[in-house]
Symmetry: C2
Amino acid sequence: MPLFTPQDFTMMSRAIELAKGGIYTTAPNPNVGCVIVQGDEIVGEGFHYRAGEPHAEVHALRMAGDRAVGATAYVTLEPCSHYGRTPPCAEGLIKAKVAKVICAMEDPNPKVAGRGIQMLRDAGITVEVGLLEQQAESLNPAFIKQMKTGMPFVQLKMAASIDGQTALANGQSQWITSPQARQDVQKYRAKSGAILSTSKTVIEDNASLNVRWDDLPLSLQEAYSQQELRQPVRVILDRNHQLTSDLKLMSTEGERIIVAEGQDLEPILNDEQLIDLAATFSALAKQHHINHLWVEAGATLASSLIKANLVDELILYLAPKIMGSDGRGLLGALGLESMAETIDLNVKDVRQVGQDIRITATLKNKES
Amino acid sequence: MPLFTPQDFTMMSRAIELAKGGIYTTAPNPNVGCVIVQGDEIVGEGFHYRAGEPHAEVHALRMAGDRAVGATAYVTLEPCSHYGRTPPCAEGLIKAKVAKVICAMEDPNPKVAGRGIQMLRDAGITVEVGLLEQQAESLNPAFIKQMKTGMPFVQLKMAASIDGQTALANGQSQWITSPQARQDVQKYRAKSGAILSTSKTVIEDNASLNVRWDDLPLSLQEAYSQQELRQPVRVILDRNHQLTSDLKLMSTEGERIIVAEGQDLEPILNDEQLIDLAATFSALAKQHHINHLWVEAGATLASSLIKANLVDELILYLAPKIMGSDGRGLLGALGLESMAETIDLNVKDVRQVGQDIRITATLKNKES
């Protein structure tokens, strides 16, 4: 590990802050920030805003102009080495004649990791890697997971009363959670690459499952105009062809992937003739570039996802209400016969969102 | 409201801090602190440590000696005017010839409020009231409630999985919560005047329902020796005479009040021939000086207390586990037919205790 200077830390921190400017817009691309420094002066800055638009390095180099010559570039991710919709950033840095490039992390795709760095070194540029790596990784958990494993990062959202009920026995459930919690959900939707649900849930609530700009917090509305905001893809499991054209989902803006025979994605079945969720998620990642799935569904799908060990993060909103054990439980009946069989969580974060409590947790068996 | 000086605030804050020295020992007496100041120098300090022992003012006056003459005394509660196990503190302050007394609050008992103040004023002492009143009140929520209403302050403790189950269908429940949560419960028990439960719960767990010194946090063990620690009274509803002498409860140290015919407290029944919980609590306060009830019980008693609007604070520990809706629910079935009928809470505090989540809440209908 090279010795980084205090200025290095300051500049990479700045690059990481810049990268966050794209968290609602870059999917499926990663969030990347770049700072170009001449002596102790920042001469160029930029971040990747949207897939198909220039990468962070391009923005920063444009701003720096001639002052990039002999400068140090701080980039939160290894510069790309391939020709995509934009030319490779490593080439841009070489052409601009920077003297040194510091990357927070290598490209997470093991097949290309190191190629951008090599290209720079071959051109005589000093390259150092690993400054604030953990912070840089936390910018792109979904992109990194997909690159490394081919599977999307899955967040399962659930909402219940404080005694674990998602609805009364008669099905009534509106509104368990507060407007603040529903606004919080809009933020998660907006950050995700796709929202997954079932036709049953969509039909029950006549849910549009899109991001409603009007419901976003003011700070987000100020940062993104209604036109700019990216709509996540909506993926609906509809094996029995229950979706009808009169549903809100079918008329609201945004891409849809209907998983049904003869539709956008053919159902992949397991030995029990049920939808093979792992294979379906893999197909979503490979064929549709979906790195980040936000799941809003009922007890059945939630339970299947947990049992299949497909949940990276559970986001549970608990409303300060008691509904009684004769309602509908979070995951339905599990038939456990011993406390050793419980589904155990690691709580990562607990906070109040309005009057509700939001719990962020991972599943323990995932980590063992 | 008189104009208090910055020194007044400093000294009363100190008196409030001192008062906290008794929170595990004074019940059923209130926590009171006293500071005596000559010029800008503290010459005497004290707090009430245990019922039957000297009041805060006595300790502070003893320490001050002759230097109390012409001094200002800061007391967190109006000095008492009656002869109890100790002579009235108002008299002590008069004899010591203090020039001024500042009280944070009046005596909460409306029948005696103002008498101590009047006694001091009659003796020519300047008296001011209301400095940091809210902070002083929060030292003694249970004492104040009982003095004002004749009813004890009731905290209901419950523990469940994150999906609201207190046990599996087969009754298995050990240990839902973590050692840290159980230690936290020991602290609440130690602060309370009495622990209430039912013979059913006692028998199921063979619970001793006492404070186990060994299980207290180190900070508490350092502050109180095993001998000093007060054991709360254990109140057990045992209408069907199910308690047997072999139970741990019957052999462990500490006072017991068995609510059963021919026992320590006769059951008071309502029109439906069930135990009248409000009348029972009132009797506990009046006949047994219990201001502060900590309830550990099953779904039936919990549900009855909530329906009777007798719960001042719900302390709910949620363990990061999912047990499935076929377990035993927090309050059992409630038969609700509309979301308007849910039992609504005001969340006052949420925090992690070990891996568990502790929610402190009041019941909404109490406040309407």
